[in-house]
Symmetry: C2
Subunit: 249 residues, 2 copies
């Protein structure tokens, strides 16, 4: 039954299908680990939970290794299977996605590091409200883009990219607030700088989540939407969704 289905596709074999699916599953597994790492790092900072911060930092080694392993499988699969267009796109998209996931992990690790350093100095809550707020936005983005990948849901991917603009705005507002805090309370400058680095990491995680949504759109539609406006990304997604509904047929 499944072999019959394969005869309609470009896949060389049922085995090749399984190979692609295995790579995809590993990428999603890595995504789950990184998502948890982001949640833990933010939580560790806000609750001064050193143990949780240490744990979030340790995960980094694991995600680094996963990046290398998945990337190697992508390369081996290309070399051995010589995939045609859409399968090649899937592999390239996953390879790009693991690079962004690894960088999200790096940023989470940096947040965890700041959580540890801040717990050593005098505690200030300056900017914590901003961290919580932007942290929640960014956590949502990471969660949603992974769901979009799991479901090949381009509309959802587009909404994640759109959300990034919101994060950028909130980030700029928060920066202005924190600079004001620094001027008003000179003794807290060091601590506020730590919060600034955390916000910067959160903003970067938002960027990588947007990148991930671009990789999925490329994978499914074949259009490379990097460096494009949201408007033109929307157009690509709408065209692709219309195709699915048979409207273009």
């Amino acid at each position: 039954m499944e072999l019959e289905k394969d005869s309609y596709s470009n896949h060389i074999s049922h085995q090749f299908n399984e190979e692609l699916e295995a790579i995809r599953t590993q990428m999603l597994t890595m995504g789950g680990i990184v998502e948890r790492q982001v949640n833990d790092a933010i939580e560790a900072l806000l609750t001064s939970d050193i143990e949780l911060a240490e744990q979030a930092r340790r995960i980094d080694k694991q995600t680094n290794e996963m990046e290398l392993t998945i990337d190697e499988q992508c390369t081996t699969t290309i070399a051995r299977r010589q995939p045609a267009a859409s399968d090649l796109r899937l592999i390239i998209s996953i390879s790009r996605a693991v690079a962004d996931l690894e960088r999200i992990g790096d940023e989470a690790s940096r947040i965890a590091q700041q959580a540890i350093e801040m717990s050593e100095g005098s505690r200030t809550q300056h900017g914590f409200q901003e961290v919580r707020h932007i942290g929640n936005l960014v956590r949502d983005m990471v969660k949603n883009v992974l769901t979009a990948f799991a479901r090949n849901d381009l509309e959802m991917a587009y909404r994640v990219a759109k959300q990034d603009r919101n994060v950028d705005q909130e980030y700029r507002t928060a920066m202005r607030t924190l600079v004001t805090f620094m001027m008003e309370d000179v003794r807290s400058i060091s601590n506020i700088m730590s919060v600034i680095w955390v916000l910067r990491s959160l903003e970067r995680i938002g960027d990588h989540a947007r990148n991930l949504s671009e990789h999925l759109i490329y994978q499914v539609s074949g259009t490379d939407v990097r460096h494009q406006s949201l408007q033109s990304m929307k157009k690509t997604v709408r065209e692709e969704t219309a195709d699915d509904d048979g409207e273009e047929e």
Copy 2:
């Protein structure tokens, strides 16, 4: 003569060789543009040259497009030519390299943006010495890693990666100095924050230059040295260089 040489390699044709060489040349051209962009952005900041800053910012659009074009050529070449191991590695390495070059361009663009914003406020020279110093280190890294790519020089690539550790140390020292400046001169906090973002961008450019050196080492040696210690990177490079000298034969 050249066709004869090809018969010893895995290349399908002389034309394929030319295709690979063309992609490689474009990557190096993009590298040259980005290198100049970094130089201009730093110079614009240090000399308050708004015109130069605007120019450095405009280049960003061009490098974004080059990333997409080169990446598409990489994908098309893989799909059409189905390259074997070492050619595939060359293509993957170039694809990764253009991503890092594009990000270096982004950071240069951010530096240029800060140069423009700082020229509008009250001028402070706080941190300019640090920008000049770390800027010079980072410019050297970018220049050298591109030369390493042009010559397939792994020893040079390794020295660039090693240099990144130096940049990270200088960056941390500069950050401490700037936080002290902020405490001593509250009115300059906004301006010093701008300098901090510039230093951060420079530090990131150093990271990307290191990444580039890793891509070259992967391309030539077949060993993926990302997330490895300098020590183990050195080992890979030494083994590869020994191979070249026939010592291992």
